[in-house]
Amino acid sequence: MSDWIRVCLLTDIAPLGSRIAASSQGDIAIFRSADDQVFALRDKCPHRGGPLSQGIVHGDTVTCPLHGWKLGLKDGQAVAPDKGCARRFAVKVEAEAVWLQLT
């Protein structure tokens, strides 16, 4: 198991917003839902590589800004009829901070 890395404070991400975390594995999009859950996906849409971090977040879904694919934040899976998956990373909120695990 790799270590948990501290990303930022929860309040650094707007509710229904996101931030980009740059890592050795490429950009990772960290999302915050309306009810303060956090999710992390590789910042690359399975369709044509659009930056998911720039999409609109609703419920536990994000709509890609380029061509409107919808991806589940929990599993990175595209919502039907589209097919594809963005890689998912483990994240948690602890002591008001957001933590991420690079696998």
Binding site: L16, G49, I56, P65
Partner: protein, 819 residues
């Protein structure tokens, strides 16, 4: 004066239409008695097909409920068949000793389905398709049995077959002729029709003659045998092999009949006290089986019954449509052609379109359309009017609105361009002019009102869309079409754009969660379609009160730059009116160097685009541009974009007005304006119009005496030429009128509706009434816009200066080495 007695035999579509027309002309003239063999009030027989297909219910198709009869003092005898007429004593006689005297008698007995002399037609499970009882029986049978056979591949047979299929039965259509609907279609169109019906699961046996219907063990029909020996299973046989005028009653009283009750041009039979209308009639040797001619007959008949005596029925050219949802088919006139005729044919089998026009001596004499019937009414009118088509012959095939490359914004209205005498409703012979007049004189607001008042779209319903368009273009903003009324903003809600706006305004809602709560949104926080719309409605309805929600903005508007395919952004600084200065150009050049901007280009909006900038560089790029006095160009927003100008009177030898100065003033006034969709303006110094004002949301054209204002142009997906709004004298008026126009659009436009679509929906007259004709409203609109814009700051400088906003652009560098 004692009222005369009118007796009507037949409570169907033609008879009751005649009564309705009569009541309009002479409501007090008669005591009316109606006999109907069916146990129902008058209903719309045509719509039995949608009822069978499960798209409507019997209740939907009742034309005159029982109240109508009593309200108009009509004695109605339902389920009573007139068995005899005593012409000497002027009495009609129903069974059970019921007799009624008449001064005038109207026969409207319709027709009876033709049963070919085939053994077995009397078996249970063998029925015809004519009335509610037949329809009910089919619906009931479809619940319990599997195999249906329809004999007859005409209009009626196919509608029956489609309905039964919709209700889950296996359906075979048996037809004697080599192709379907041979009386309405040529072979090519019929073949395409057959293919698409086959795709819906119908089976066809053409050129087959039925020999017998075979009884099963239960006593019910079980199979069908053909002359060639083939046998197919059949739990239900619907015979749709034609109709015969119902003349039995007339013949029994020795009224002259010949393929129908013979009438003259006033719909009078050989007995001057007796009139007849409908399918039971033969007029000039022709017996009609569609409602359009029957309604014309009814009108003429009523005129004579009312003792007006001034109209004649001279026959009708009919057209045909098939009412199978999803299949568009139209035919009219002589479509087979032959000696002395030319055929213009367009045939695209994979595209599913076939059109054939038959022309003789420069007149169109017939048409068959399959797949695309939009121009049916137009062709039909030419056929009826025997219009000379020489001038338009070369583009006749491409329809009324033919212009090459006309892709069309979906749902755009052609109604506005229709001539007043163009027919809209074929069934009831209602022209556009009549509808417009009715809307204006009676103050009609809904399709239902128009239907009631003019009868348009009250029969087969296929012109409903057109009626809606006419309504929309006539009454403008007062009309909320049923369609967009019902059409929800997105899957998160049942509410339409119109009703959401209304709720925000009337309930003074200020936040997105408040709207969602008040309107029972189905999702916790909407989606990427509804949130931006709600955000716009809130900030435009309650400027200064509702707060903008960046998370509900599309990324371009949230980041104030345009996202590119690779996730970088483009930056377009404002160049007011297209003007720039050496120092601005120098600053742009410096930024391009400093941030290694890959592409620098002139935009179609007459300014400079810096493309390919990384998001985290944006605030620094803006800081440099801001230092040179440049602000956001909003090239990314549903907002004011550009005001293009030409050089105008400042330099040009033809210029009449200072177009550059005018353009800059307009652009400065509108800076920071959010709108339902983007807004572009142009100002030209003279009618040569070098700034292309004719395709802008607002186009201003300088003339000697002032300016001409044009609105609702569009240069994008489909080019729309801007429409003339009015002429004004001064620069101040240009500002005031333009602002007022934009404000009414901002207040009434639906999100993502550009000005051309907004105007198409509400009508230019609606906007003129507010912006041009009503000075007080214009001023109020103008002031509301200025109020909404008063505190707007350049979003670029805000992002530069406010750390909280800058966060949007900052990337977090992960510290992967454990702390």
């Amino acid at each position: 004066m004692k009222k005369q007695k009118l007796v009507v035999v037949g409570n169907g579509m033609a008879g009751m239409r005649a009564v309705e027309e009569l009541l309009k002309l002479a409501p007090e003239l008669y005591d009316i008695t109606v006999f109907g063999a069916e146990p129902h009030p008058n209903y719309n027989r045509i719509l039995l097909s949608p009822v069978l297909a499960g798209e409507m219910t019997i209740n939907d198709i009742i034309l005159n409920p029982l109240d109508w009869y009593s309200d108009n003092g009509i004695s109605l005898h339902l389920g009573k068949t007139i068995e005899r007429i005593d012409r000497t004593r002027r009495k009609v006689i129903a069974g059970e000793g019921l007799e009624v005297e008449y001064d005038r008698l109207l026969l409207a007995t319709g027709s009876t389905p033709f049963m070919p002399p085939i053994p077995g037609t009397d078996l249970p499970g063998v029925i015809s398709y004519r009335d509610i009882r037949d329809t009910d029986e089919m619906i009931e049978t479809a619940r319990r049995y599997r195999n249906a056979v329809v004999i007859g591949g005409g209009l009626l047979g196919l509608e029956a077959a489609n309905g039964l299929r919709q209700r889950g039965m296996e359906v075979t259509v048996v037809h004697l002729m080599p192709w379907l609907m041979e009386r309405q279609l040529d072979k090519a169109a019929a073949d395409m029709l057959k293919l698409s019906l086959e795709a819906r699961g119908l089976k066809f046996l053409l050129e087959k003659q039925t020999e017998a219907m075979i009884r099963g063990e239960s006593g019910r029909v079980a199979a069908l045998r053909f002359k060639d020996g083939l046998e197919i299973p059949a739990d239900l046989v619907v015979v749709a092999a034609g109709i015969r005028p119902n003349t039995a009653l007339a013949e029994s009283t020795r009224l002259h009949c010949n393929r129908g009750i013979v009438v003259n041009d006033t719909m009078q039979t050989y007995d001057p006290r007796i009139y007849a209308v409908g399918e039971c009639v033969a007029h000039r040797g022709i017996n009609y089986g569609l409602v359009a001619p029957l309604f014309e007959q009814a009108k003429v008949c009523a005129n004579h019954l009312a003792n007006f005596g001034i109209s004649r029925y001279t026959g009708t050219v009919t057209s045909t449509k098939l009412k199978v949802t999803g299949i568009d088919l139209f035919s009219a006139g002589n479509f087979i052609g032959g000696e002395g005729t030319d055929e213009i044919v367009l045939h695209d089998p994979s595209g599913g379109v076939y059109k054939k026009l038959v022309v003789r001596n420069d007149t169109l004499i017939g048409a068959v359309l399959y797949g695309d019937t939009a121009d049916g009414a137009w062709y039909f009118k030419m056929v009826k009017d025997e219009q000379n088509i020489r001038e338009i012959r070369d583009h006749l095939m491409f329809g009324q609105n033919s212009s090459v490359g006309d892709l069309g914004h979906a749902g755009n209205s052609h109604a506005a361009s229709m001539a007043d005498d163009a027919e809209v409703c074929g069934c009831n012979g209602v022209c556009k002019g009549e509808i417009v007049k009715a809307i204006k004189t009676h103050g009609l607001f809904t399709v239902e009102d128009v239907r009631k008042t003019t009868k348009a779209s009250s029969s087969c319903g296929s012109c409903t869309g057109l009626v809606e368009q006419i309504l929309a273009s006539t009454i403008g903003g007062a009309y909320t079409p049923a369609q967009s009324n019902n059409k929800p903003v997105c899957g998160c809600t049942e509410h339409s754009h119109g009703s959401v706006r209304e709720a925000i305004r009337t309930q003074h809602l200020l936040t997105i969660p408040a709207v969602m709560k008040a309107l029972d949104w189905k999702t916790p926080n909407g989606c990427a379609s509804c949130r931006p719309a709600l955000n716009y409605y809130l900030i435009s309805s309650w400027p200064g009160e509702a707060r903008d929600d960046p998370q509900s903005r599309f990324i371009n508007e949230r980041a104030h730059a345009n996202i590119q395919k690779d996730g970088t952004y483009s930056v377009i600084p404002r160049m007011w009116g297209g003007l720039t200065t050496p120092s601005e150009l120098r600053a742009i050049a410096d930024v391009a160097d400093k941030f290694q901007v890959p592409t620098v280009k002139m935009t179609g909006g007459a300014r400079i685009d810096l493309l390919g900038i990384k998001k985290d560089d944006l605030p620094r790029v803006w800081a440099d541009l801001g230092a040179a006095g440049m602000v956001s160009g909003h090239a990314y927003g549903k907002s004011i974009r550009t005001v293009k100008t030409c050089v105008g009177a400042e330099h040009c030898r033809f210029g009449t007005q200072r177009s550059m100065a005018m353009g800059v003033k307009l652009e400065r006034m509108l800076f920071g304006m959010w709108s339902p969709h983007k807004v572009k303006l142009a100002v030209s110094g003279c009618p040569r119009n070098c700034a292309e004002a004719g395709i802008k949301d607002i186009g201003v054209i300088g003339v000697d005496s002032g300016y001409e204002l044009y609105v609702a142009g569009n240069g994008g997906i489909k080019t729309e030429v801007a429409q003339f709004l009015c002429k004004v004298k001064s620069d101040e008026e240009v500002m005031e009128y333009s602002a007022a126009f934009l404000q009414i659009y901002r207040e009434e436009g639906y999100y993502l509706e550009r000005t051309c679509h907004y105007i198409a929906r509400v009508g230019l007259d609606h906007v003129k009434a507010a912006v041009v004709d009503d000075a007080a409203r214009r001023k109020a609109l103008y002031e509301r816009l200025l109020f909404a814009l008063q505190d707007y700051e350049d979003p670029w400088q805000q992002a530069v200066q406010q750390p909280a906003l800058r966060r949007e652009y900052e990337v977090i560098q992960l510290q992967e080495v454990p702390a």
